[in-house]
């Protein structure tokens, strides 16, 4: 050790500069000269390099918040015991009694033998429906969507099956992964909230709001970060992108927000929230910029706003409404 140290006449910071390609021409020359100088310098160089490379894993260690994880674990392992009897069952029954919960009380035998949990089915036949699952997770079903779930989850996994569109706010429990099955796909929650929209055919859209989910379809899978959107097209091809649709959750929040949005996309959002068809006659208005926020407003209020903004005429048609004429105050870039 000692002997090696004495032969090491190179300054370590030069080696660092050399590995990171930040060395000047002169510094590179120094390192290369030193390497050739003595045979053992090469071994020394390799050793230093290993130390340097190994230190890269530091980032992983630092990314782990042990204290937060411990608190979370504590809550789950130690508190769970005490609170077991007062879990969310009453809430489930409240919905079962009061709402559109169609108890398609099929007794399915899962995993051969044993006591089978009762399968429940919630159907949002008259507008959005909020459902609380046995673990306390909340699901908002968009109109026409349906969700199948057991009245009691397995201890090691939570499986539900979705048709249509829903927003999930999942109670985090690493010991029991939460999975949504839809159309031959699986969205596995690694903790948190997301919007999943299953269309007719293969089409499907998933937008992650918080946390992390793993989406899989056949052998293909993707992990999503907040703000990311995953789309499966009719051919079954998966693609991931940043979600730029600001109003993707308006069906749940009843809120439309247009921030310098271009009118022809803004009316699509209005259409999907109110379930009507809107057409814009003038190209000028179609390409016009709009900034407005609607919260719990009626379709009439929204149309009235457009009318005032653009000085346009709104006419009711067989299919929906037409926006006729008008002047654009701010053209969209």
């Amino acid at each position: 050790m000692k002997a090696m140290e004495n032969n090491s006449t190179i300054s370590e910071h030069l080696l660092v500069a050399y590995w990171t390609n930040t060395a000047t021409e002169e510094e590179r020359g120094q390192v290369e000269g030193w390497l050739k100088d003595q045979a053992q310098n090469e071994a020394l160089f390799d050793q230093w390099k290993q130390v340097w490379e190994q230190s890269g894993s530091l980032a992983d260690f630092e990314a782990i918040d042990v204290e937060a994880r411990w608190q979370q674990f504590r809550g789950e392992a130690f508190a769970q015991k005490e609170g077991k009897q007062v879990r969310m069952f009453p809430a489930v029954w409240r919905y079962a009694a009061a709402l559109l919960l169609v108890a398609a009380a099929t007794f399915l035998i899962l995993r051969g033998g044993g006591t089978a949990p009762e399968m429940m089915e919630a159907v949002a036949s008259n507008g959005p429906l909020e459902v609380t699952l046995p673990d306390g997770s909340q699901v908002w079903l968009n109109e026409q969507a349906s969700l199948k779930y057991p009245n009691e989850f397995d201890t090691d996994r939570r499986l539900v099956e979705l048709k249509g569109e829903a927003f999930f706010e999942v109670v985090h429990n690493p010991a029991s992964p939460f999975s949504v099955l839809a159309d031959g796909t699986e969205t596995r929650v690694l903790g948190t909230s997301f919007n999943l929209k299953e269309h007719e055919g293969n089409r499907l859209e998933l937008v992650l709001v918080t946390g992390k989910v793993r989406f899989s379809r056949a052998d293909d899978w993707e992990i999503l970060a907040p703000g990311e959107k995953l789309v499966v097209d009719d051919e079954g091809t998966m693609s991931k992108s940043q979600n730029d649709a600001a109003n993707f959750m308006s069906w749940r929040t009843r809120r439309l927000e247009f921030d310098s949005a271009v009118m022809h996309t803004a009316v699509r959002d209005v259409e999907s929230l109110y379930g009507v068809q809107l057409t814009i006659d003038s190209e000028e208005i179609s390409n016009c910029s709009v900034t407005a926020t609607f919260q719990n407003d009626s379709l009439e209020d929204v149309l009235e706003t457009f009318k005032i903004l653009f000085d346009a005429e709104i006419r009711q048609t067989d299919q929906g409404y037409r926006i006729i004429g008008g002047v654009c105050p701010i053209q969209s870039p």
């Binding site: 370590e12 910071h13 930040t22 230093w48 130390v51 190994q54 010991a175 690694l190 052998d219 992990i223």
Partner: protein, 190 residues
């Protein structure tokens, strides 16, 4: 606290003993699990799951070798279960599954490797603050010495000295373990 004592207290349901165990191993086990599942968040969830199971089964628990070995083994099994259940044709996963059919070599290697990494992590955390800051900027942000010097309002010479110090310290702390690593790398590539 000795391991036997710790286990005894955990069996009695002592939350503080469990906290000691959790905080001692959570990080290094998560980095270990990441070697298998490739995703740090997922790795952390898996390790947490192992701790939950460990706690639930604490009374039935029989520790044959050591608590540490048991934890590593449980995490590894969970990871392999996970990979199998995914049934992906991901090349990395297939490789791991193949290796694991026959031997335990990679499990031991991964374990030694992450333990070494943990030593480096602790060694860096023990450096004087300025030295740490400079080392991080150089190692993780890829900054030039001149840039670091300007950002911290120091002379370039000070930055160079600090980087040399950090590296020297690291080498001193981990040199004894490097041999094992070299052996391991040869095995991997042969």
């Amino acid at each position: 606290m000795s391991e036997t004592n710790l286990l005894q207290q955990i069996k009695q349901g002592d939350e503080r003993a469990y906290e000691v165990l959790f905080k001692e191993y959570f990080q290094v086990l998560s980095v270990y699990a990441k070697r298998y599942v490739q995703d740090l968040d997922l790795a952390q969830d898996i390790v947490q799951e192992v701790f939950v199971k460990f706690y639930e089964n604490r009374l039935k628990l029989v520790v044959h070798s050591s608590l540490k070995a048991l934890l590593y083994q449980s995490v590894r099994n969970r990871c392999l279960d996970h990979i199998r259940s995914e049934q992906t044709h991901n090349a990395h996963h297939e490789q791991i599954l193949n290796i694991n059919k026959g031997s335990d070599i990679d499990a031991t290697d991964f374990m030694e490797q992450v333990e070494l990494e943990e030593k480096i992590y602790k060694s860096i955390a023990a450096l004087p603050e300025q030295c740490q800051v400079i080392f991080r900027m150089s190692r993780f942000e890829g900054k030039r010495n001149q840039e670091i010097a300007e950002a911290l309002n120091l002379s370039k010479r000070t930055v160079e000295t600090q980087i040399s110090n950090a590296l020297k310290r690291l080498r001193k702390d981990i040199f004894p373990y490097l041999k094992a690593l070299i052996v391991m790398l040869l095995q991997t590539f042969s």
